[in-house]
Symmetry: C2
Subunit: 210 residues, 2 copies
DNA sequence: GTTTAAATTAAACGTTTGTTTAGTTTTGTG
DNA sequence: CACAAAACTAAACAAACGTTTAATTTAAAC
């Protein structure tokens, strides 16, 4: 784990935003350099290449995701459903808190030809499945959760819903209550709405209660 | 609605696949021309430009989607839940049957700067919400569905789950039963698995039954 | 068979791409 | 101050990009 200078962090931040908004190939290093207010050559100088820059963003973000997963594992005192609910809220907060990166992930996971970045994505997804699976299995054996649950599909729904909410925010903003005006208010509003929705979904499927 | 020659259709087909696999900016017109076995100049000759080519793919596919929606509206004799189930199955079949195009949609809906293509996507999504909303509302008034349902989020989950399944198929293929070997068998298997999952989800949320 | 339009081609167009070079400035150290 | 290493810059690089041109072949109509 390296440390990055302010300038490097500025490049990473700008690159993440532009890659999210316009795609990797839709963003030129000149765009990045201009918005980050650095010389073009600095990007190669710091990160080696444009590809390596993307990889740097990924290792940087995914390292944080690993920490995030390990923190989730420590909450071992909660009831199974509370554990699931806590997990849902944390996922929503994490993913909506790094929307630019999640956009890049959405894009990169679609690439057919395998790449270092693509491999990292699916490896992490596997780890997240491995996080939820035992919680569900244990609760099933304790007779708390329904036996007949497709956990892999449930995770797909969790990620899919959040990944779908991110680009849909323009639309959701229009239909939001009138008292939601600022960006911060909307952020709270949308997180809460997704949270309620997903918790209801999971509870219904896992416990057959409402 | 125009008719396209075999050569034009060949270009459209190849372009759709490559745009899905590598992204729009990640695919060059030379790539498309080579794989479609036509001269590079033919793409501009037929479609005007690379951008127009993408737009052509969209108008072509979205026209079919409109027909698809109208067909759904005709099934007016079914019970509300059967109507929802039919809708789920048709969506799964449609979207998994045109996976390349759905990949392109997944990518393009992430673009921040508005474009003809982006507008078309969200317009269609609005229409699909408008398709499901009355079904749910009517059943709610008849006391068949739960009053407290976030239909917009439910649609988000529907699309999100299917859009997430598409790139996850490599992984899901590994964990598939041993008797699923051919591509056709896997296609049936995965459609069925998603169908069961989503129907269960919708039934639980809408009717509080299992 | 001749003529006219459409289809097709190879080559070239001017940009833009990511990257590198060679030179300059800044920084830190003895 | 002197000096070496790091940081930074403007310019140039070759390659790839989407598009157009001008010439040629094919097809259709009379």
């Amino acid at each position: 784990m390296e440390e990055y200078s302010e300038k490097q962090l500025s490049i990473l931040k700008v690159a993440e935003r532009l890659f999210a908004d316009q795609g990797f190939h839709g963003t030129s290093v000149r765009d990045i350099a201009q918005e980050a207010d650095v010389n073009i050559a600095m990007i190669s100088y710091y990160f080696g290449s444009k590809d390596k820059l993307l990889e740097t963003i990924f290792t940087y973000r995914l390292e944080a995701s690993r920490k995030f997963i390990n923190e989730l594992l420590e909450n071992d005192t909660l009831e199974p459903l509370d554990k699931i609910n806590s997990l849902i809220d944390r996922f929503i907060n994490k993913m909506l808190g790094e929307q630019y990166f999640q956009c890049i992930m959405s894009r990169e996971q679609l690439n057919s030809q395998q790449s270092p970045v693509r491999d990292l994505i699916w490896q992490l997804k596997g780890e997240m499945l491995g996080l939820m699976q035992p919680i569900v299995t244990n609760a099933q054996e304790a007779g708390i959760f329904d036996k007949d649950v497709d956990v892999e599909m449930l995770m797909t729904t969790l990620f899919g819903t959040i990944h779908q909410v991110i680009p849909a925010q323009h639309i959701l903003k229009k239909n939001a209550p009138a008292d939601v005006t600022t960006d911060e208010e909307f952020s709270v509003y949308i997180k809460n709405r997704v949270s309620i929705h997903l918790k209801k979904l999971f509870k219904a499927i896992l416990t057959h209660e409402f």
